[in-house]
């Protein structure tokens, strides 16, 4: 069968997503050509404010890199803007954009002279998205004025901000506030100007908006409501101030407009398609031309425009069903809109309507102005019609499910506002439709869970193993239990969820007690004593690490219980080779060390030499057989970049050279690494020290971080994360010197080692125990165990041996040998 050709106009999140959905249904049916006005692969626009406030690099927010297009045989015309569809000849015509032009620009002079690009098509999908709306004012577009929509916008704003003091953001909606947050990180005084009488008019009512305004002002933001900008006033060509329609003025040398979006529809109107506010589509996402489809922010469906991702994902699925023939009758029914987000660190959720629509609507409100908390629900016919949560969104997931699935609410309305995870019992999972998404982390529907139950799963854990439901944040686990209960009548109690390791039926505290009481010093001894000798593969590594924590000095190290990385002290890679990361204390190396590393890399043919995220150097592609020789040639200790243990402590340059440093972060990082290197724990620990609160070394988002503050003191943060989860650490305590940092960090580590679940990172551990409880135990010594913790971590420190010393004497035969070649194979005598 000949392949049909689909031309996609627009290479944003919607365009790329619909291609992925079609490929998932019909991998070989279509050839794809994409036009993208931006000269990149496609990226997650939702994260742009992080690029502006420098918490993420532009590279980190790409969803599909350019290689994705190549792997899937997609031709991408990057930097080419489609201008017209000739529906008679069935070709899409594109023109090359000037590299400096904004991708969403309107005017024709943005194009480079030269030939246009033409692509014939069988079908077209328009996904042009939207452009920022600029309210009418005099002087916008000159130097110092910016929009906030693309990666390039972020770069231009950040560059210009270096020479500015006062920034103004026009637009007090979600994106405007996000832009303001980004600008504040550039040390600017920031004013937000909003034409409406309140902030976030799309999401909040007047009272909650007022509360949000006070919170924002407390953070140092200036907010001007009811102000319309009339003119940008310049002196000698440079921006000086803004003049408002009411005659007031405010000084400004940088202006960002983020006042909403408008659909980009020119290519549709140039091609004779029906365009109203957006490109008009039917329920099959088809435009007025039967061969042309559209989706995303450029689309108007049943009179509605959508500017959020969830509706776009819904549209992409329907469009892919229809165009691929997978389900030609698929229909998009419109989306219910709910937003849950953080504005400048403030939790916020908004669903449905903001105000009562009539006397039949019941409104329940809770206010706590002191903490900036506001909760409001609107109930009609016993169903949720509106929710606003500000400052505390713990009840949000439940309310979102009830709202999206139009469920009846419980009689006691206060349950709705103050429910916690356990309180989800009042959502009746049985009432949810089959298509309802239960696990939002892994996108698992009720239908998939029901199928797993039908095929024999009876516990939450077994459903997780089969479908991945409940394996993300875990907040849906009670819902999964309810679905099991509804189908089977009972949920099989699965006590194994609380076992430290799956093969020994004990919780951690019980397991430790048994190990100590029976003096069990090896993994096989534990299996003999506590599991009737039955060895379980999934339990071995966790037990080995725990035994080493309990018996630092006389633990019997059975390497077969260890993961391969801990058998050979290197990290296995996907091709079976290993990565070698020597320890570089505090990230400070020397020319001598670098030369040795370089010579070793050449001698053993490292496939790549990579600077790691932890300020070290990684030699990749080393053969197992070569590991001992590599370690000897390096002459450096192990960096432990392969095990569940203390990994590394990054540092900024601190007081040695940095003109802002207020504490010697390098010396501290080196002391920390020398003290805690190789200390094993339930999961890895990554640390950092920062010489001032500018946080160049990212200490706020580490498992443990020390941040110097004015006055020579140090703040210790615990439970930070900047991996798949992102969390700022909680302040454990503030101390006077390096020695105290070592003391309290060690105390925290020992408590974590003894009390965390296996594979539980510090960020979940700290959240589970609670920072206030931890402060009580570790700082105020509320349990009277602080000195014991100090002693035990000291014993662990004293017992440390550099594992790379095994280069000289392998601990078991063939430890560093590769496959055995049977070149002199002898046939066995066949004696039966």
């Amino acid at each position: 069968m000949d392949k049909k050709k689909i031309v996609v106009i627009g290479n944003g999140m919607a365009g790329a997503r619909v291609v992925e959905e079609i490929l998932g249904r019909a991998p070989d049916k279509f050839d794809f050509v994409m036009f993208g006005a931006e000269p990149y692969g496609n990226y997650n626009r939702i994260l742009l404010s992080n690029v502006l406030n420098q918490t993420q690099e532009a590279d980190d927010i790409f969803i599909n890199p350019l290689s994705w297009y190549k792997e899937n045989g997609i031709i991408l015309h990057a930097g080419i803007k489609a201008v017209q569809i000739d529906t008679g000849r069935k070709v899409v015509i594109g023109r090359e954009l000037h590299p400096q032009a904004a991708a969403y620009a309107v005017h024709d002079d943005q194009f480079l002279p030269g030939k246009s690009v033409e692509e014939a098509y069988d079908y077209v999908i328009i996904a042009t998205g939207s452009r920022p709306f600029v309210p009418p004012m005099d002087g916008f577009g000159g130097e110092g004025t910016f929009l906030f929509r693309t990666i390039d916008d972020c770069g231009r704003i950040a560059e210009y901000a270096k020479q500015c003091k006062k920034a103004v953001v026009i637009g007090g909606g979600l994106l405007g506030l996000e832009a303001a947050r980004g600008l504040m990180t550039h040390n600017l005084e920031v004013t937000v100007v909003e034409a409406a009488p309140q902030l976030m008019p799309a999401q909040l009512d007047a009272e909650s908006a007022q509360m949000l305004k006070r919170t924002m002002e407390a953070m140092g933001l200036t907010v001007l409501l009811d102000h319309k900008t009339a003119q940008i006033h310049r002196v000698d060509g440079r921006m000086h101030s803004l003049i408002f329609s009411n005659g007031a003025t405010t000084p400004a040398d940088l202006l960002v407009v983020s006042a909403g979006i408008r659909p980009i529809t020119e290519v549709a109107s140039n091609s004779g398609l029906t365009v109203n506010k957006g490109i008009v589509c039917n329920d099959q996402m088809r435009t007025s031309d039967p061969f042309i489809y559209a989706l995303g922010e450029c689309v108007e469906h049943r009179g509605k425009l959508y500017g959020l991702v969830d509706p776009i994902w819904d549209q992409a699925r329907v469009l892919a069903d229809v165009i691929s023939g997978f389900n030609p009758q698929a229909a998009y029914q419109g989306s219910k809109i709910g937003t849950k987000l953080k504005v400048m660190g403030v939790e916020l959720m908004s669903l449905g309507q903001k105000e009562a629509a009539g006397p039949g609507d019941e409104v329940v409100v809770y206010r706590e102005p002191n903490r900036g908390i506001y909760k409001k629900i609107i109930v009609r016919d016993n169903k949720l019609h509106g929710v606003i949560l500000l400052g505390d969104t713990t009840a949000g997931d439940v309310l979102m499910q009830m709202f999206l699935n139009e469920q009846n609410v419980p009689e006691s309305r206060s349950d709705l506002l103050f429910g916690d995870v356990k309180g989800t019992a009042f959502i009746r999972a049985a009432d949810l439709p089959d298509g309802a998404q239960i696990c939002n982390c892994n996108g698992v529907s009720k239908k998939t869970i029901c199928e797993a139950i039908s095929s024999g799963c009876e516990t939450v854990a077994s459903i997780g193993a089969r479908t991945k439901a409940g394996k993300g944040c875990g907040s849906c686990r009670s819902m999964i239990a309810q679905i099991i209960e509804a189908k089977l009548g009972v949920v099989s109690y699965d006590p194994s969820e609380h076992y430290y390791v799956p093969g020994i039926p004990l919780e951690k505290s019980q397991l430790i007690a048994q190990i100590k009481a029976q003096h069990l010093k090896s993994v096989s001894a534990v299996f003999q004593a506590l599991a009737a000798g039955k060895e379980d593969a999934d339990s071995k590594a966790g037990l080995a690490s725990l035994l080493k924590t309990i018996w630092p000095k006389d633990y019997e190290d059975q390497r077969d219980a260890r993961f391969i990385n801990d058998r050979v002290h290197a990290n296995i890679q996907k091709d079976g080779t290993f990565s070698v990361v020597p320890r570089i204390y505090g990230g400070v190396t020397s020319a001598d060390e670098l030369m040795r590393i370089a010579q070793t890399a050449v001698k053993y043919k490292a496939k790549m030499v990579k600077i790691t995220g932890g300020q070290r150097i990684d030699l990749l592609g080393i053969k197992k057989e070569d590991l001992p020789a590599v370690w000897k040639d390096l002459g450096m200790p192990s960096g432990h970049a392969y095990t569940k243990a203390f990994r590394t402590c990054k540092s900024c340059v601190g007081t040695d050279f940095c003109r802002f440093g207020v504490g010697d972060s390098i010396a501290l990082a080196q002391k920390i690494e020398r003290r805690f290197q190789g200390i094993e724990s339930p999961h890895k620990m990554k640390l950092a020290t920062a010489g001032c609160p500018r946080n160049c070394s990212e200490a706020y988002v580490k498992d443990l971080g020390a941040v110097a503050i004015e006055g020579g003191r140090w703040e210790i943060y615990v439970g930070g994360a900047a991996g798949g989860s992102v969390r700022k650490g909680d302040l454990l305590c503030t101390v006077n010197d390096h020695d105290e940092v070592l003391k309290y960090m060690g105390r925290f580590m020992e408590y974590y080692r003894e009390h965390a679940k296996y594979m539980e990172r510090t960020y979940t551990f700290v959240e589970r125990i609670g920072i206030d409880v931890l402060k009580g135990i570790l700082i105020d010594d509320s349990l009277g165990i602080a000195l014991k913790l100090d002693e035990r971590i000291q014993t662990a420190v004293d017992a440390y041996k550099d594992p790379w010393k095994e280069a000289d004497i392998p601990v078991y035969p063939a430890q560093f040998e590769g496959p055995k070649l049977m070149d002199a194979l002898k046939e066995a005598e066949n004696n039966g």
């Binding site: 077969d560 260890r562 996907k574 079976g576 035969p813 430890q815 496959p819 070649l821 046939e827 066995a828």
Partner: protein
Amino acid sequence: MEHMRFDLGSTEQIPPGQGRCFKIGALDVAVFRGRDGRLFAIENRCPHRGGPLAEGIIGATQVVCPLHGHKFDLTTGQGSEARECVKTFEVSQENENIVIGLALTLKDRRAYENCQSGTP
């Protein structure tokens, strides 16, 4: 197909509770030696992404691939994921040595003979 039995040498080459890869002609075989003395032999290639199963942690009758944690039964070869399994081979201990039984295809047999005669 031809059935052959090979003597791979002493069991002591494999530390208790671990596995080791033996290259027999074109075939990579992972042989495991349990702490209880039981021997198992399977092909040394995870069907998921080609992981070296000989480097995996074993349980009573199970091995966990070191790359992505897929599991395989050492006696039947059945994998933990639907539609994944590995070949298993007969293996036994005779006079402290590991003896493995292989059904060799003609191609395997040639590769093996080439090894024997030293031709590449």
